[in-house]
Amino acid sequence: MLRQLKGLNWFRKPHPIIRQNRKHFDEFSQSRSLADYTFVVFDTELTGLNRRRDQIISIGAVKIVDLRIELDQVFHQYIRPPNLEHTDSTLIHRITPEQLRTMPAMEDVLPGFVEFCGAALLVGHYVTLDMNFLNRAAREVLGGTMSNPSIDTMRLAMGYKEVLFMDRYGHNKMSTSYNLSDLSREFGLPEFKPHDALEDALQTAYLFLFLIKKMKQGKIRTLKDLYQAGRNVDMMY
């Protein structure tokens, strides 16, 4: 407890990398063409879903430049959580606590990830959850949160399916699962191994490309268009 408080004190002033991150978005415009933005599509794996107790144990991310997935711009790292002995749920992620023990801690990983994201927009499937954990970690180890705007492919998928599959009585004819692999299957995307942060990120990237090019019959040109195409106002924040 004392250490944690100390840690917070240490970072009363945000880490330089966080200040640089903020700078990227001082003048952020939504009216540029989508192809002009860089997107980082990412996924995290967690020890559990408790927002206060659970930890990120891996981050996987791929970059989309010019609306194409770039395969030499990839981020994938496992992270040693602080209280390793309580994290037996990690087994579903095909990594054992033993293996995790040899991995770097969050404070050694996060600066690299923030740098990787640079001025990109973040994309994730149910991104709110990942952002929550990410920013809690950022506050703890970097003394501030990331300023990158984020886009949720789950919400995009909802908006897309709503328009596409609503019958004339307003009922939705399609299955209602918005799970990443169900959606991928439904849209006929190539499928990757689930529960691997990098492959899930890649899967999300495929979904993202699919959605932005299919929505509004391909008429989405700018970030603002995308924002408006989403059903929910809080699709981005």
Partner: protein, 644 residues
């Protein structure tokens, strides 16, 4: 620290891309390092259905596109806006290679017909591969090169089974010349005793005999068996010249003949010592024993068991062993053309042995007869479990009494033969085209009338039903009956072209199943559980083409590959078309054999329905090439038969 970690992190990158490329020709031949390099430079792009990727004459091609999911069509549009569809490309296919290699703009329009994900390889990287990787340029420039064909066959085998070991391939790799030992020959004038002494001295079982005073002129051969049966058993004078007991002339094979062919020749002629010839000179002898020594599990054993079998029931289990033997041959790398010939030889021997034993049972037939084989049996193109297609022809009876006798005898003979064949594992013909059907058990003159009617006054529908009769050959018995019938058919045909028109027209009715590829690109969600009937859609067009052309040009062969070869030799089709058609035909037969073998292995009755999902990228590609030959066959038919 963090920076270093990040480098590590980056190196895990493109596993997905590496895996993808590994499944695609010719990238699968790259070493791991090069593959990783290429994978790193890949981009993944998505193109919704209906997206134009390339426009002929306009688009500069910046990337090679490899289709990961989805499909595209390529087409050209002429000045009047008329669109000609060239082809469809699906998963694993490429777009833009030619333009990049030639440094030109796109030469075709490409548009997605489905939502499509592509891997993009930058132009420069692709050109580097073309320059540095052996086989890359050839692959993209020459679509149906030998190399690709060979790789395809190898992949077919590797894909379906793990190979046992290189040495097992001997039957298809070793050549007759590899197996011969020092040539031993004696002058025709030496005595039997001298010859036997020579054989004993060298511990050999056979000796070549040359013309007296001319060592290069081989005129005969003597074996241990000759000495036993022609000399000892008959108490012949040992001092007679050896040429009295030699077998002459000596059957020969060329030294570069693969052992499989040698074995096939031995089995079909029942001659077990063949002289091996190189550059016109006999350089040695090859025996069935030599070949068997190379491999314990040879078709030859089965063959021997069949020809020495003394009861019909004893043939049943032997016939059932044929699929096992064929399985081994395919695993050893046998090509469909060889395999089907081997199946035919073995089936012929079963039939021959069975009919000989049946004759013993029923007594000698009242008239000479010939057991005819039709359809795929007639063409020597059976795979596993082919239905029976047979008939019986016998000499014209000279009296009412003879007629009645013949009818009674052959009726019983055919009934029993068909039952035995069923027990051997050859299913009944659903169309009842079998010798037990009185309609197909007739004297020569009736058969002649059948063919005359089919040729001169063809009812198109009936003609299609009896098409397989035109592939008849002698199975067992008095082969001259079959030969006379064939000669008559050839003679009559030259006057009657009308039935050929019907046959040719039927050939044109079948469309190359290219849509198969389109459909399986489009219908992925299983609404159309679509499979390819490789026999009907893929193979039959080749068979029908070869038949109609062979009939037209008086070619007496019935085997499709043999027909095509004779047609090419006689200049009725180009060498080029012959080669393409033979390859296409054989490849499909191979796919079919392997498909059926797999079904047998899994306890399923073999059929001809191939599920595209089970095909590798390369197999699809090869099939597509094969299908495209059908168009060429059809356009040739249109010039051969201008009225249709």
């Amino acid at each position: 620290m963090a920076a270093m970690k990040r480098n590590d992190v980056h190196s895990v990158a493109p596993e997905v891309a590496v895996d993808f490329l590994k499944g695609i020709m010719p990238f699968n031949s790259l070493d791991e390092e090069t593959l990783t390099m290429v994978a790193r430079h890949c981009r993944i792009d998505f193109f919704p259905k209906g997206t134009r990727l390339l426009t002929a004459g306009q688009t500069d091609i910046t990337h090679l596109y490899l289709i990961q999911r989805g499909g595209v069509k390529s087409f050209i549009t002429n000045d009047e806006g008329q669109v000609t569809l060239k082809d469809y490309r699906g998963e694993g296919d490429f777009i833009g290679a030619l333009g990049i290699i030639r440094g030109t703009k796109a030469n075709l329009n490409i548009e997605t017909v489905e939502d499509t994900f592509c891997f993009l390889i930058p132009r420069e990287i692709f050109l580097e591969l073309i320059d540095t990787q052996p086989g890359f340029a050839q692959y993209y420039l020459k679509t149906f090169s030998d190399k690709v064909v060979n790789t395809a066959y190898n992949e077919l085998r590797r894909h379906k089974w793990t190979l046992r070991g290189e040495e097992d391939l001997y039957l298809f790799t070793m050549r007759a010349g590899d197996l011969i030992k020092t040539l031993r020959k004696v002058d025709a004038s030496v005595t039997i005793q001298e010859a036997a002494a020579e054989m004993a001295r060298h511990r050999i079982g056979s000796l070549l005999i040359h013309q007296a005073g001319d060592p290069e002129n081989i005129i005969g051969i003597v074996t241990d068996r000759d000495l036993r049966s022609k000399v000892l058993a008959r108490g012949l004078d040992y001092s007679l010249p050896i040429e009295h007991v030699m077998s002459s002339p000596v059957q020969r094979v060329l030294s570069q003949t693969i052992c499989f062919e040698v074995l096939l020749k031995m089995m079909s002629t029942n001659i077990h010592h063949l002289a091996v010839e190189r550059g016109g000179r006999v350089v040695g002898v090859i025996t069935s024993h030599d070949i068997m020594l190379q491999q314990g599990h040879s078709p030859y054993y089965l063959f021997k068991e069949i020809i020495t079998q003394s009861t019909i029931q004893g043939l049943y289990p032997l016939a059932q062993k044929i699929p096992d033997m064929i399985r081994n041959l395919i695993k050893e790398g046998g090509k469909a053309g060889n395999i089907t010939r081997m199946i035919a030889v073995l089936n012929d021997h079963i039939l021959e042995r069975m009919l000989i034993l049946l004759q013993d049972e029923l007594g000698q037939p009242p008239l000479p007869y010939c057991w005819l084989l039709m359809g795929s049996e007639g063409r020597r193109e059976q795979t596993f479990r082919t239905d029976q297609d047979n008939a019986l022809i016998y000499a014209d009876p000279q009296s009412e009494e003879e007629k009645k006798l013949a009818e009674e005898y052959f009726s019983e003979f055919a009934r029993r033969a068909i039952d035995h064949l069923v027990n051997c594992g050859y299913p009944l013909c659903p169309g009842d085209i079998m010798a037990r059907n009185p309609k197909w058990r007739q004297p020569y003159s009736v058969w002649r009338r059948y063919f005359e009617r089919w040729i001169s006054a063809p009812d198109p529908r009936e003609l299609l039903n009896v098409m397989i009769f035109f592939d008849f050959r002698a199975g067992f018995g008095d082969a001259t009956l079959a030969e006379n019938l064939r000669n008559h058919l050839v003679r009559t045909t030259q006057r009657q072209e009308i039935y050929l028109l019907h046959l040719a027209k039927d050939c044109l009715n079948s469309r190359a199943p290219l849509s198969f590829f389109r459909t399986f690109i489009v219908e992925r969600n299983g609404e159309h559980k679509n499979t390819l009937d490789i026999k009907r859609q893929g193979i039959t067009p080749f068979v029908n083409f070869a038949r109609v052309m062979a009939l037209k040009h008086g070619v007496k062969e019935t085997n499709t590959l043999a027909r095509l070869k004779v047609l090419a030799d006689e200049g009725h089709i180009s060498r080029n078309l012959w080669q393409a058609a033979s390859e296409a035909y054989e490849l499909q037969m191979q796919l079919r054999l392997i498909h059926q073998l797999h079904q047998l292995d899994n306890g399923i009755l073999p059929d001809n329905y191939i599920n595209p999902a089970n095909l590798t990228d390369l197999e699809k590609r090869m099939l597509k090439e094969a299908f495209s030959v059908i168009d060429r066959l059809q356009s040739l038919l249109k010039t051969e038969f201008p009225v249709i």
